[in-house]
């Protein structure tokens, strides 16, 4: 009897020990998705959702939001943590606010969003008013700022604000480069005339700098003058006529689709298409121009840097397309750009996590972003690179044009010149 009891107790103890060991062995083999996330990363966004530039900002916002939502739904951002030595995942807490393209609400919005818990490591500014106001604050608070707009204050002097879009003066230089090629291909002699035809607001005038004018003149252009239009133009015929009288052959301005479509309608109505070539910024040659201007859009050309929505052979474009369709969005170039932004933001954080391990701060993300190898967007946009002295990530553009009712590529890639103040193109006088 005593022996039987001893054997029973021994058997129980052995059984319990073995079951514990087996349980532990099973726990070590749990996948990353079976474990809790290691933490949460904070992102925030201030953009124009209801103001005059919302037609561009809303699709970008939707795309970024979709990328983050999709990531969270799939379990979060998975990476290999050097500190734990295994795969971990983090969730992303994304908050956003609407500043209606105004600067007034920006301070309180920024303070509210930058104080959220967990402390954000990155923010996205979709509106110029926000992007240009806060670089000093994001530097102070060590939050990486990704700016959608690319006005000078968003990338110079170098702070914690980065932009992935070509700067506005450089986009104008792309247009001028193509225009000169076009002029020569038509066998024309002499100096073509270049006219600025833009909005009389900071965004509209951002491309007109001493550097961009110096570059345009160096190509052989004669800059004939600057013409402006209201935000909602009614009739741009007088301006076109005046430009042509002054000798303009090409006109360019920082516009959006709202103005660009009116220009094309007027230039068609007045029969001026063979006298002056209208060239657009990236924001004026989107798919909406085909709907708003119809057949009048034919012949419009514009600068761009993103992939076409139908380039689904590119892995990044396919990935973005799938996310866009998952959330029922319209698949356009704006969605491509927005997904590129979302992808890059996630990529920046993932790189920091893989290099430094959890937890990461804004400073960690900032330092890993200054990587000369750059970051790949899977073909959505050119490779994005930042350095200690350079906050502009994209240096390659190309030209698009409206042909037979479609937007198609019409040039090879162009390496944009450096348009920074006190730079190689600053006039020395």
């Amino acid at each position: 009897m005593k022996m039987a009891m001893r054997l029973l107790v021994l058997g129980l103890v052995l059984g319990m020990t073995i079951s514990c060991l087996v349980h532990d062995a099973g726990a070590e083999e749990k996948g990353v998705m079976d474990r809790d996330p290691i933490g949460t990363i904070g992102f925030f966004e201030i953009t124009d959702l209801t103001g005059p530039t919302s037609d561009t900002c809303v699709p970008h916002h939707n795309a970024i939001w979709d990328v983050i939502r999709s990531l969270n739904e799939e379990g979060g951002l998975v990476y290999h943590d050097p500190k734990t030595g295994r795969e971990e995942r983090v969730m992303i807490n994304f908050q956003y606010a609407d500043n209606k393209a105004q600067a007034g609400p920006v301070p309180t919005l920024y303070e509210r969003l930058s104080s959220m818990n967990p402390k954000p490591v990155m923010c996205y500014m979709g509106s110029s008013a926000a992007a240009e106001t806060i670089p000093k604050w994001t530097e102070r608070d060590q939050i990486v700022q990704i700016s959608g707009p690319s006005g000078l204050a968003t990338w110079y002097p170098p702070k914690w604000s980065f932009t992935t879009a070509p700067d506005y003066p450089a986009a104008a230089c792309t247009a001028a480069w193509w225009a000169m090629q076009d002029w020569k291909s038509k066998g024309r002699a002499g100096s073509p005339g270049w006219a600025w035809f833009t909005l009389d607001i900071p965004y509209g005038r951002a491309a007109i700098t001493p550097e961009s004018e110096a570059y345009i003149k160096s190509l052989g252009f004669n800059i004939v003058g600057t013409w402006t239009m209201p935000f909602v133009p009614v009739d741009t015929g007088p301006q076109f006529q005046s430009m042509i009288d002054k000798g303009a052959n090409y006109c360019y301005g920082n516009l959006v689709v709202l103005q660009q479509q009116k220009l094309m309608k007027d230039v068609t109505r007045l029969g001026l298409k063979d006298k002056i070539q209208v060239i657009s910024t990236p924001y004026g040659i989107m798919e909406d121009i085909l709907k708003m201007a119809g057949s009048d859009a034919e012949g419009l050309v514009g600068v761009h840097y993103a992939a076409f929505p139908d380039e689904l052979d590119k892995p990044g474009v396919k990935w973005a397309h799938d996310i866009s369709k998952k959330f029922g969005r319209t698949w356009t170039t704006d969605a491509v750009l927005g997904c590129a932004l979302g992808r890059l933001m996630v990529e920046f954080v993932k790189t920091a996590l893989q290099e430094r391990g959890w937890p990461v701060t804004g400073k960690d993300v900032y330092e890993t972003m200054l990587n000369p190898k750059g970051f790949d967007t899977g073909g959505l946009t050119p490779r994005v690179k930042f350095t200690e002295s350079e906050r502009r990530g994209t240096w390659v553009t190309y030209m698009r044009g409206v042909k037979d009712g479609k937007i198609v590529r019409i040039s090879e890639d162009f390496n944009i010149p450096d348009m920074k103040p006190d730079g190689p193109w600053t006039p020395k006088n």
């Binding site: 959702l49 209801t50 919302s54 809303v58 916002h61 939707n62 939001w65 908050q95 956003y96 606010a97 609407d98 209606k100 105004q102 600067a103 007034g104 609400p105 920006v106 301070p107 309180t108 919005l109 920024y110 303070e111 509210r112 930058s114 104080s115 110029s128 008013a129 240009e132 106001t133 670089p135 000093k136 604050w137 006005g151 000078l152 204050a153 009389d200 607001i201 900071p202 965004y203 005038r205 951002a206």
Partner: protein, 351 residues
């Protein structure tokens, strides 16, 4: 009619004119000022930022209140005058090394002089036509901010260095808040006292009936220009403080929409009073923050509508509230506050 608390009566003019008449008044003032002073230790950066921006708005709308509320001259250019003050103060401080307090004062004074220039039409025209001339001020000044690239930086704007006064650099949010709060207290006190002097009475007389005022011997033209000067002085100070708070200025920060918003704040708060701009600024800022807070939450509850519908909430709320006040209480929150105070003082005897 303002009722005094029971048992309180004035026996001389000094008592009659006192702003803070009773001991509870003084205690309330001291407690309020102390609370405002220790706010940076009690609240987070978001609330502190909200208070700072609200105080800057109070100064600007106070100026507008002197012009529109007391003198009856409408202005649609207050934001542009703020911008003028901002640029003057930054240029004087950074390019000409003028000490900050002097630069701020010069911003106000310079803007005031500019206000006299744009106020000259007010001597001959009023109402809608005067609104158009002040609208011209908004557009002309906006154009100048954009095109005087060598002075204002044009589209690139101006980066603003931190203000330094007697060796103290105002580079943290708390320090900026104290600076703005002190200036707001001074400006509000100045406005209150100004309206109790001959100048204030003259402005009110002009508002009520400028012909009768002229018959009474009030120099209507001079006082109208003085009203513009004072209004723009306040706007210049407000703009200067805004520039040193936000650390960067460019033309897009001083738009026509802001000028219209300030008028809306004045209407909601109550024209023709000193407390009106304070009530208006606080309430409209709270409404704006409520809309900013609630729109992402509403979007997450109803994603089918998209972010834009709920993001437009603040615009809709502003409009509805301004219309409601114009229809139901054109004298604004300040009038409601007066009624409440009087009722409290004579309760339970309504006669």
């Amino acid at each position: 009619m303002h009722w005094l608390p029971c048992g309180t009566y004035n026996v001389n003019y000094r008592q009659d004119f006192a702003i803070f008449r009773t001991i509870p008044h003084w205690i309330s003032l001291i407690v309020f000022l102390t609370l405002m002073a220790v706010m940076p230790f009690l609240v987070g950066r978001y609330i502190l930022s909200l208070l700072t921006v609200t105080c800057i708005t109070i100064i600007a709308v106070q100026g507008l209140g002197i012009l529109t509320g007391f003198a009856g001259q409408i202005s649609l250019g207050q934001a542009a005058f703020m911008g003028t003050g901002a640029y003057i103060s930054v240029i004087l401080y950074q390019r000409f090394s003028v000490p900050f307090p002097l630069a701020l004062f010069c911003a106000g004074f310079g803007t005031g002089l500019l206000g006299i220039l744009f106020g000259i039409p007010a001597v001959r025209i009023k109402g809608f036509y005067l609104a158009m001339s002040t609208l011209a001020a908004q557009l002309i000044l906006g154009w100048l901010f954009l095109h005087l690239r060598g002075i204002t930086g044009g589209t690139e704007g101006l980066h603003v260095e931190y203000a330094t006064v007697m060796g103290i650099t105002f580079d943290t949010l708390a320090e900026k808040y104290w600076l703005v709060m002190a200036c707001t207290a001074v400006m509000v006190y100045f406005a209150k006292n100004l309206m109790r002097t001959r100048v204030g009475r003259a402005l009110v007389a002009i508002r009520d009936n400028d012909l009768a005022a002229k018959v009474m011997g009030i120099e209507v033209s001079m006082y109208k220009l003085l009203a513009f000067f004072l209004s723009c002085f306040f706007a210049g100070i407000s703009g200067g403080l805004f520039a040193f708070y936000i650390d960067f200025i460019n033309p897009v920060q001083f738009t026509l929409l802001d000028s219209i918003l300030y008028l809306g704040i004045l209407i909601v708060g109550g024209m023709g009073s000193i407390m009106g701009p304070i009530f208006g600024a606080v309430s409209m800022k709270l409404i704006e923050e409520f809309a900013f807070f609630s729109s992402p939450t509403l979007t997450s509850w109803f994603p089918a509508f998209g972010a834009q519908i709920f993001a437009a909430l603040s615009l809709a709320l502003y409009s509805v509230i301004i219309i409601l006040f114009l229809v139901l209480e054109p004298r604004g929150i300040n009038h409601l506050w007066s009624i409440l105070k009087n009722r409290y003082r004579i309760y339970p005897f309504p006669y």
